[in-house]
């Protein structure tokens, strides 16, 4: 197994560990994306993150991958340190496989962790907006009528 592949599998296991028991096994083992959407999302996003960890560390790719992971973990029954903590799991993986790691691994992990926290917070902030928009749609016809009566376009 190549270094990135080894890191991916170990990191995926670290990310899934938070679910515990049989769901962690399901998350790692089930490859059907529709029977295992969480595992699928983690695998796809972590593949990007591992590529960046060993590669160019492009901020846009890292942020997009963490956006998908944190969309999930920010609304699950996880404390923030549980949701984001698996990023630091890379440290342990790095220690266990020192020969494979980039020389500046620690700095790279710090950058990844920062992005993970930022995406986590962004997801939490989106919840308020979702609720407001849903309320507005619930009375959408009244709003259209009011706009119409004001002579403006709804």
């Amino acid at each position: 197994m190549s270094a990135p592949d080894t890191v991916l599998e170990r990191w995926l296991a670290a990310a899934a560990e938070v679910y515990g028991g049989i769901f962690a096994e399901h998350t790692i083992g089930e490859r059907d994306p529709f029977r295992n959407p969480i595992g699928h999302t983690l695998r796809v996003s972590l593949t990007v993150l591992v590529r960046e960890f060993f590669g160019a560390m492009q901020p846009a790719a890292i942020d997009a991958a963490f956006a998908d992971i944190m969309a999930l973990r920010s609304i699950q029954a996880l404390a923030v340190e549980q949701a984001v903590g698996f990023v630091f799991g890379l440290r342990g993986i790095a220690r266990a496989t020192p020969a494979m790691m980039p020389a500046d691994a620690e700095a790279r992990i710090d950058k990844l962790a920062l992005s993970a926290f930022q995406q986590y917070l962004a997801c939490r902030e989106r919840l308020a907006e979702l609720k407001l928009n849903e309320q507005l749609r619930a009375f959408g016809v009244a709003r259209m009528r009011a706009a119409h009566n004001r002579g403006s376009v709804a």
């Binding site: 560990e17 938070v18 679910y19 515990g20 028991g21 049989i22 769901f23 399901h26 998350t27 089930e30 059907d32 994306p33 529709f34 029977r35 295992n36 959407p37 969480i38 699928h40 969309a71 999930l72 609304i75 699950q76 029954a77 996880l78 340190e81 549980q82 903590g85 698996f86 630091f88 799991g89 440290r91 342990g92 790095a94 220690r95 020192p98 020969a99 494979m100 790691m101 980039p102 020389a103 500046d104 691994a105 620690e106 989106r126 919840l127 979702l130 609720k131 928009n133 849903e134 309320q135 749609r137 619930a138 009375f139 959408g140 016809v141 009244a142 259209m144 009528r145 119409h148 709804a154």
Partner: protein, 536 residues
Amino acid sequence: MGPIMSEKPVIDIALKTPKGDWRDPRVDFRKGTFSYASLPKDLSALGLPNPRKWQPTDLDWQLPPDWKRILLDGMKERLEKYRSFRLFMDVCVRCGACADKCHFYLGSGDPKNMPFARAELVRSIYRRYFTLSGKLFGSLAGGRELTEDVVKEWFYYFYQCTECRRCSVYCPFGIDTAEITMIVRELLSLIGVSTHWIMEPAAKSFQVGNHLGIPPHAFKDSLEFAADELRDITGLDIEIPINRKGAEILFVMPSADYFATPHYYTLLGYMMLFHEIGLDFTVSAYASEGGNFGSFHSNDLMKSLNAKIYDEARRLGVKWILGGECGHMWRVLHQYMDTMNGPADFLEMPVSPITGTRFENAASTRMVHICEFTADLIHHDKLKLDPSRNDPYVVTYHDSCNPSRGMGLLEEPRYVLKNACNNFHEMPASTIREYTFCCGSGAGLGNDENMEMRLRGGFPRANAVRHVREEHGVNLLTCICAIDKATLPTLMDYWVPGVQVAGVHEMLGNALVMTGEKERTVNLRGEPLAKGAADA
């Protein structure tokens, strides 16, 4: 290459979720994952027991002093009354076929969301109090004591089941966890434990006729506004008759169709269709709600809310009933109406006045689904459609649980869509038709205080939408359920931004070429039509 790693982690992180004994009933009512409690005014309006102010986060739920006896008597009564309930309590062999089929389990990872585990929460009480082995050996025989913590756990997990029945499709014994959920909710209601988002609309439906309590004059205003909009879009005077005695057909829709968006665009589509074919119909300000929130609470409340549709059909003297794009209205109609309030033999066998098709499938309920009706019109070449008007949309279809799994309506909506739209793509086979994933907000869970739980439950559906967005550029998710139309836009905004939500009859209305219409320049949302279509 080489490690530059400090030996000690910077922070010590607990990665594992604490795992305990599944029999431990204690739950954490974390904000965002449960619905608020019902208010005393609504329970009083419906004559239901134990009206009081409380919340799930309270330590003391102010249950009646004899709550345990009430629950066990209620269970006994239902075990005797419903053979299915007794069977469901007895026959599960824990084969695990249902385990990974529930969207709440797949989106949360909470093992108590595995359908058999959800059922086990009540099955363990059944074993303890209603089987000999459980009475003798208690927990050794898989029994649990009924405690206040169990009541709280039931509330948490049975209001975390959308009664979608996906699990039942995979169960070799046909165990229907949705029915178990319905019975447990009914039991909880006996001691005054229910949710505000269900009981308030149910009370308003009971007292006024629809979920928001919109009085007849406001109902009329809303429909007149729709007629005005239709005049602007089509140039035609489209009449929407209300409470017209002697009409051939009573049309019943979910109230969201006339107060919420995007539902409203579906209403415009219905009315264009009825005008074009010259349908002799009426809507009713009394039966102004197809939705039946009673079905999320108890058999009795479901029955009384369903009855008003039929009372109104009798009062208005119509021949049969046509029903709009609603979810649980159809579940109630298809599965329960006949034994609750049927057969509706004071009405006539529904026959399409345009094609002559007899809807024999509605022989007992005398109520036809709008998608069946429209598909029949298209099949008989009675409508002129220009699907290019929907060309800006790349469409997929979400099978709403109740019309699909609940009543088998799989082909008709697709038939309408494929005739009204040029760009249609199915989601993967394991996520549609009878295997459809729920929106995660049905059965009374669709309130904003429960948003995080809804997003967890809706994730498997969203994941499949994302797949067709990435594969085919899908930008419109269609459906035929009012709760879907209210909650899927939120789900899409969170999980798959760029995908809008619409009803099937909105697509039909866009494509419908009406006799005498002015040149159509905008779709039902007031957006410019596809260039080619507008020029044609």
